[in-house]
Every structure is written in C-alpha cells, then in structure tokens.
C-alpha cells in the first residue's frame, strides 16, 4: 500500500487465504479425499479515472506486482468510482473453532454413519460429498478501509441415485459449523425415494409443478439477471423502468441479506469494501431495487449497494476475478403450507427434485427450458412414480405471475435460502 501511494495512485489490496478439505463417498464407500492450502493477492489501482488490476499467488516481488497493475492502466479501463472510505461495520459471528479443529476422521465417520443408515432403507446408490472450508480475507484501500474476515463453512450433500442413472434426490446441509446430518432429512429422502422408484409415463402438458428449494436457483437466475445493475445499465433487462410495478405474485418477496450470520460466510462488506445490508429486490411481487457493484453504480450515478463480489457463474480463482454485481445471500420469504400439504394439493403435476441445463436458454429474457432429473409424478395428491427424460419450460415473467403456494420453511441451498414453490400451468414435456 505504501508503494502504491508513493506511485500516486488510489489502491485496493485483497488478500485471501483458503484452506479446505473435501471428502467424497460414492456408492456408499469412501472414494476421494482432497485438501487445499491456497492464498493469493489482488491489487486494483485507480489513476486519472482509469482502473488497473493485477493478481498473484506468491507475492515474491512487490515492486513487480505493483508494476503489473500500473502497466494495465494503459488499457484505459474506465473507473467511474473511488474506493470507499472505511468506517465501523457490524460485527458478525462467522467462525466456528470446533469445525476448524475437527480431524478429517470425524468427517469420514459422519459420511459412513449416513451410508450405514441409508443402505438399510433404500436400494439406490448413495453418494455423499462433505466439504469444510476456512477462509481468511483482508481488504484494505487507500481511503482508510481495512476490513478482515475469518469464516468457516461446512457443507454436506447426500444423493440417492435411481438405478441406472445419475439422477436422484439430494438433501444437504450448509452451515458455519459441523452439524450431524439430521434424522428427519434422511427419512424425507428415503420416503420420497422409495415412493418414486417406479417409472411412469403420464400425458405431457401444462400442469402443477413443485420446485424443490435445491432447484429454485434455476428460476432465481432469471430474476437475478433482470435485477443486475449491469443489465440495467446496458438497457437489456426486462425489469428496466419497472421498479414499483407488480410483476410477480404478491406471495413473492425476495431479498439479499449478507448480514445474517446464522448462515455461513456472512459479510458486513463486499469484495470492494462497500458495507453490506439487507436489501429487498421484490416486495410482495413488486420490483423494488436493482443491485450494483462500484463500477455499475458509478455508471448509473447511483450509490453502490454492496453487491460487488469476485464471483463467477462457474467458480474460478477468486483473486483472479474482477468484482461484478452478484447476489450471494438471496432469500425467498417462505409461505404458509407444509411441504407435504403442497404435494397433497396437486391433482396432477410433478415435483422437480433436480434440474439439468438451467444455464441454457435465454436467461435474460426470463425463459427457462430444463431437463428434470428427476421429475416425480403426482396424481390426486399422491406420488405415483418418476418420469424419465422430462423437460419443463416457460418464462418466469409469466409463470411467476401466479404462484399457487410456498412452503412454510426455507432451506439453505447453494443458490440461496428458499422454500419449495408450487407453480401452475408449467409446460412439461416427456
């Protein structure tokens, strides 16, 4: 930082240390174990309204690192912003010491315990993935911001695969500390699995469709694209000039809440040092806000909303990524109906337990057309079996206009914390 200041530039340093252990079980047996110890730096500089960027894994030569960032100023990438000044941020409880100290043996034993229980109850293949991650992040800039974060996260996913395929049912837990995979989740999985074993081939057409929380990301991606400050700035968003307009069913309230430290990796600042806050995107179906990083907030002459994250749709090396507007802490407000009552309310329809190819199609337009892996078929409120090779298609700006009901509780998933959502009149092809 001192060297950067001497060079007469605004500067921001992002330093990340990540350690993780990943353990995988396939077909009920331990398959793989991998550990990672990684670190790296990124550096952004601003001079005369232009932005420079560099990153490195091993900071061997500080002068060379700074020179790389200064050199990239020549590209004249516009920086319509300054780095934010520092200030007091809410203190969050993001780290669980017990998880960090837990030996890998304990994680392997947890996987074995789940396999042992499920093996006696179902005839499917059991796959389990367990990941424990510990991150340390420091972000400082020349405006006096100096933020640190030490966070832990624990993820366990149990899949039961239907014979002859890799489509199955998933149940997962996501938290900042270790938690035993709950008995009720295992019972839910085994009960649904055993009821769906039979292959059926009903008539295709428009029908009720219950999206599981784990699959809702596919629909949410479309809304996220619409509310993304980049697409608003480029005037490609269908939500342009629609704030204050009722576009969705009043049951839909969607917000981002990075401050909720009950969930793992809660944040009081984004990857650009902007304070995070609870932020409503859709309130009772009415479009409220778009979200921005520093760049697009600057272009729109709006205050930044605290959504500049170094993330990408398909992962990637964090330090190498440029911040972009991202909703990393999405919540859909739950409704009032229990999961099984939602199922009972379906006269003819499907349960979407997994989706394929959610990234295909015209996302920005709100279109979706996804493979269902699997689709569980329901008639008169009872599960009849599963349908192979099914597809569901539609457009969220039509299908989310009317939501039949939302589940009465939310579940943390990789794409956000969501309840199951029951829609009507979704086009399903078999």
């Amino acid at each position: 930082m001192e060297k950067a200041l001497k060079a007469g530039v605004q500067a921001e340093i992002y330093f990340l240390v990540q350690t993780s252990d990943r353990i995988q079980f396939e077909n009920g047996r331990l398959k793989d174990m991998e550990s990672k110890m990684q670190s790296g730096f990124s550096l952004r500089v601003i001079k005369n309204g232009c932005l420079g960027f560099a990153y490195t894994k091993n900071l061997l030569d500080r002068d060379e690192f700074l020179d790389q960032a200064l050199d990239s100023l020549k590209g004249k990438v516009e920086a319509p912003f300054s780095f934010p000044s520092g200030g007091a941020l809410p203190s969050l409880n993001t780290h669980d010491l017990f998880l960090e100290s837990l030996p890998n043996t304990a994680l392997v034993e947890e996987g074995n315990r789940i396999c042992d229980i499920l093996r006696t109850k179902v005839k499917g293949e059991i796959n389990i993935s367990i990941q424990r991650s510990i991150d340390t992040l420091r972000l400082l800039n020349n405006q006096g911001s100096d933020h640190s974060l030490h966070s832990s996260s624990y993820y366990l996913n149990t899949s039961l695969l239907f014979p002859g395929s890799q489509a199955g049912l998933d149940g997962h837990i996501l938290g900042k500390g270790f938690q035993s995979f709950p008995q009720e989740k295992m019972e839910f999985l085994q009960s649904l699995f055993n009821q769906s074993l039979k292959e059926v081939r009903p008539q295709p057409g428009k029908m009720k469709t219950l999206f599981f929380p784990e699959t809702l990301y596919a629909l949410m991606w479309r809304i996220q694209a619409g509310a993304n400050g980049k697409n608003v700035y480029e005037k490609t968003s269908p939500l342009l000039n629609k704030t204050g307009t009722q576009l969705f069913d009043p049951k839909i309230t969607l917000y981002d809440d990075p401050l909720n430290d009950q969930q793992p990796q809660a944040r009081s600042f984004d990857d650009e040092g902007v304070p995070c806050r609870k932020y409503t995107l859709i309130e009772q179906g009415v479009v409220q806000n778009f979200y921005y990083d520093l760049f697009y907030a600057g272009k729109m002459k709006n205050p930044p909303s605290g959504h500049g994250f170094k993330s990408a749709m398909w992962g990637g090396e964090t330090i190498a990524l440029k911040p972009r507007p991202a909703l990393e802490y999405l919540y859909l407000k739950p409704g009032e109906t229990s999961f099984w009552n939602l199922v009972k309310s379906i006269n003819r329809g499907i349960l979407v337990a997994g989706v394929l190819g959610a990234h295909s199609g015209n996302i920005l337009n709100g279109d979706f057309s996804m493979g269902l892996a699997p689709a569980v078929y329901v008639e008169d409120g009872e599960i009849v079996g599963r349908v192979k090779d099914a597809m569901a298609a539609g457009n969220i700006y039509e299908t989310l206009k009317e939501v039949v009901a939302l589940e009465d509780q939310s579940h943390p998933t990789y794409g956000g914390t969501f309840p199951a959502v029951l829609l009507d009149q979704v086009n399903v092809a078999f």
Binding site: M37, F53, K57, V77, Q166, W314, H359, G361, N362, A429
Partner: protein
C-alpha cells in the same frame, strides 16, 4: 522452472508412490462489455499439486507456497492413511512408462510475442462490428490467452515439461426488439496460437445477422421430434450424453450404469463410431502427456455400435484391468487431475446434408449448442436456433430450443451420419473443474425421438 526444488519436496515423501506437479499459469484477458473495455489484465500465478499413494490410500494436497511443502506432505500422508483404513480394496496404479521429456507444442504465432496493443485492437475491431447494428444492444467479447507451463515429476523417475497454450476470442452478441432479447454466442480459438484468431470478420458478421434474425423468429413448439444436429450439436451430444460415461471415474462406482456399459456391448446404431483422439494436431484438445505423465492416445470408444473403449487414469485402468489411455487432466495448479475427454467426435459417414434432409422428412434442423448437462441416461442441451423441416424442405426459423433425451435410446436412433467432420474451437466442460480445451465435434447427424422443451 527449478526441478531441483521439486525433487527436494518429493524426496521427503514416505510413501509407495508420489507425484508432484508445479505449474505457472500466465493469463491475458481483455473484456469488452458493449463499447466499454471493462477488463485488461496480464498475470502470472503458480502452485503445486502433490499426490501420495500410501498403504493403498491415495490422496492429494494442493498448495501455493513452496514453504508449505512439508506441511502438504504430512497432510497428504495422513489423508492417504485415513483413506486406507476405510477402503474396501486398496488403490493401485496401472504401471506407466518412465518418461523424461520436454515438449513444446507447435504454435502459429506465439501469443506471448504479440503486443497488448495488437490484441486490444483485434478484440476491439471484432467487438465493434455487431455494435454498428441498431438492434444489437450489447456484446460481451473477451480475449483470453492462457499458457500452462507444467513440470511433472514422480517417484518412478518420470520428469516431463510441457506447455499448453490456449487462445480464444469471442463471447456473446445481444439483440433486442421491443420486449424480446436474444443472445447468440460467437468465437474462435484453439491450441495453436494467435494466428487462428485473425481474419474472423465474416464469423462476427454472420453471428450478428443471426442475432437479428432470431428477433424475428418464433418460439419452437414443444414435443418429440426427428432432428438433424449440426456438427457443433453432434459434438455436444457426443460429449454430454455419451462421452461422460466413457470416463471411468464417473461410472466405476455406479454398478447399474456399469452393467449397461460393458466393453463389447452393442450400445448404438451399427453406423455409429465414436472416438476420442487428442493426438490430432492443431486442434483445441491437443496435448502430449496427461497430468499423470502418461502419453495420451487415440481411443475407439464405440466401433460400429459396439462399446470398445473407455477413458482412464492410472488408478481406474488398474481397477478396470483395461489399458492406459492418458486422459487424466487437471484444470490448473489448483486441482488434482481427473478423467477428461480430450477430442471426442462421431466418425463421419457417407450421407450428404441433402440425403439427411430427405431421410428425415419432417422435423427440425438444429444449429449450434447452448450448453448441456447430463445425469446418467438423461441429458439436456440447448440449441441456438432451429429450422422447421417439412418433406425434406427447410422452412421457417425457430428459437428457444432445449432438447432432452435418453442416452441409450438416442445412441440407437442416430439413423443418419453425414460425410462432414467439424471439431470445436471453443470448449468449456465443467466436471468439477473447467476444461477450456475440451474439444468435441462430428458430422451432421439425424436422430429420431428427441424431446424439445419449447415454451
């Protein structure tokens, strides 16, 4: 690269086998969003991957700093022993030839010797072509140059230096008319340097015209169709629907899938042959050694409908008692290698495009892939656009096409195989790691009974 440093680290491992890969990754990226340049970077990163086989347990540790070497060794040995305790049968590795080699690929114009100004100018000029059209509202065009300088050593005595140079220039073009937005992909690239990126103006113009045409087209009607897949879609089908299940690590612990995928089983139409061949020169998927130090070779996966081969790592080749193929590849220094397709394609047949149209009668001609995914026998992938075919004649253009089908059914219903073969110039397979050199292709193919999602 200092192989002495690597030897020092590896010599401290107490195990039955160990290997260590050190990589320097050099990346140049330029990104235009619409008319604005939003990223320019030129960076170098590096790291290590250590794999240890000890008492039948096989484990790996990824680390960034040389001084973490000893810590990594301790952790890898601990993990391996822990695995050994829980495994039903110990891991063994198929014996591989000991190799000492330095290999540099043949490059037409090394991108490292082209100035940033020139890269910027070329990217800008392509990006501006679509933006001149009124209804093109934005673009996202990226120049990417990625060089992996790899050094691999193992305790058998293998020592390999190989560079992989990947270039790509492309992205998306978005058109808008009223409330309708349509995005098409555009781009080119490969493993042979900067030269293939030049003179691509016709490609950018063609895709711009396509984005505009799509704004005038209608959504497809959902249902079951006969389709002709263009070479890009044939390739994506081959990769997604079948190719992943020729990767031994994806099927080894799935007894019910493996049962259907026994070598010697008639699995496809008698006209159908599928091959993976990364040794084909100057194409995206080219490499000489995989990230286990095994030389890659051509593998006949399906020969005239019969399953004849599988892609392997040293571990799976030993488990399956099948020959090594050299298909164990990592994204970069952040990952241990996993089994990947290299260059997978359907072998061309004899039918002309007109023959295929006539043979199909009614159906859809589908062009260019928009991503895909598989879950065993069920697969899904998108097409950029389609053309309705009636009585063997091409009619109107349709959009919003996503396809789904069943692997076994589809392999048996590839009824017509064209006499052309086109391999992809861009790749991006995400099997836990991203493989930007994943190359696929094929001829035009006629397939019966695919489900189109529609709207």
């Amino acid at each position: 690269m200092d192989s002495q440093k690597l030897n020092n680290i590896l010599s401290k491992v107490r195990a039955d086998y160990a290997d260590l890969r050190y990589e320097v990754k050099k990346e140049v990226q330029l990104v235009y969003s619409g008319r604005e340049l939003t990223q320019i970077s030129s960076t170098t990163t590096d790291g290590y991957v250590l794999r240890v086989l000890k008492k039948g347990g096989f484990s790996n540790v990824v680390f960034t700093k040389e001084q973490d070497g000893e810590n990594a060794i301790r952790k890898a040995e601990e993990n391996a022993l822990l695995m050994a305790r829980y495994l039903d049968s110990p891991v063994s590795l198929a014996p591989a030839e000991v190799i000492q080699d330095t290999y540099q690929p043949t490059i037409e114009e090394d991108p490292r010797s082209i100035s940033m100004e020139e890269k910027l100018a070329l990217t800008r000029s392509y990006n501006l072509r679509p933006l001149q059209k009124e209804k093109i509202v934005t673009t996202q065009i990226q120049y990417l140059e990625l060089v992996r300088e790899k050094l691999f050593i193992n305790t058998d005595g293998t020592h390999i230096r190989e560079d992989l140079v990947t270039t790509r220039l492309g992205g998306t073009i978005t058109g808008q008319d009223g409330g309708l937005t349509q995005t098409v992909r555009v781009g080119t690239g490969g493993s042979s340097g900067f030269a293939p990126l030049r003179n691509q103006e016709p490609l950018f113009d063609e895709k711009t015209a396509l984005a505009l045409d799509l704004l005038k087209s209608k959504p497809v009607t959902g249902g079951s169709y006969s389709v002709i897949l263009n070479p890009d879609l044939s390739g994506v089908f081959t990769h997604e629907a079948f190719g992943h299940y020729s990767e031994a690590d994806l099927v080894e612990d799935s007894p019910s899938m493996l049962e259907k995928l026994q070598i010697g089983t008639l699995i496809g139409h008698p006209n159908l042959s599928i091959t993976d061949d990364p040794t084909r020169p100057s194409q995206l998927g080219f490499y000489k050694y995989d990230d286990e130090g095994v030389p890659v070779r051509k593998v006949h996966l399906i020969t005239q409908g019969v399953l004849t081969g599988r892609l392997h790592s040293r571990r799976t080749a030993s488990r399956f008692k099948e020959p090594l193929t050299g298909h164990c590849v990592a994204e970069d220094y952040r990952y241990a290698p996993i089994i990947r397709m290299g260059t997978i394609y359907i072998e061309p047949g004899t039918a002309t495009f007109d023959d295929l149209l006539a043979l199909m009668g009614d159906g859809l001609y589908l062009v260019d892939a928009l991503g895909g995914q598989t879950s065993g026998e069920n697969f899904t992938f998108g097409a950029v656009y389609g053309v309705v075919v009636k009585n063997g004649r091409m009619g109107e253009m349709v959009r919003d096409i996503n396809l789904s089908g069943n692997l076994y059914h589809t392999l048996q219903h590839i009824e017509g195989i064209g006499n052309d073969l086109v391999l992809s110039r861009l790749g991006g397979c995400g099997k836990g790691q991203t493989n930007i050199r994943s190359c696929h292709g094929g001829p035009h193919c006629l397939v019966r009974g695919l489900i189109v999602g529609g709207r």
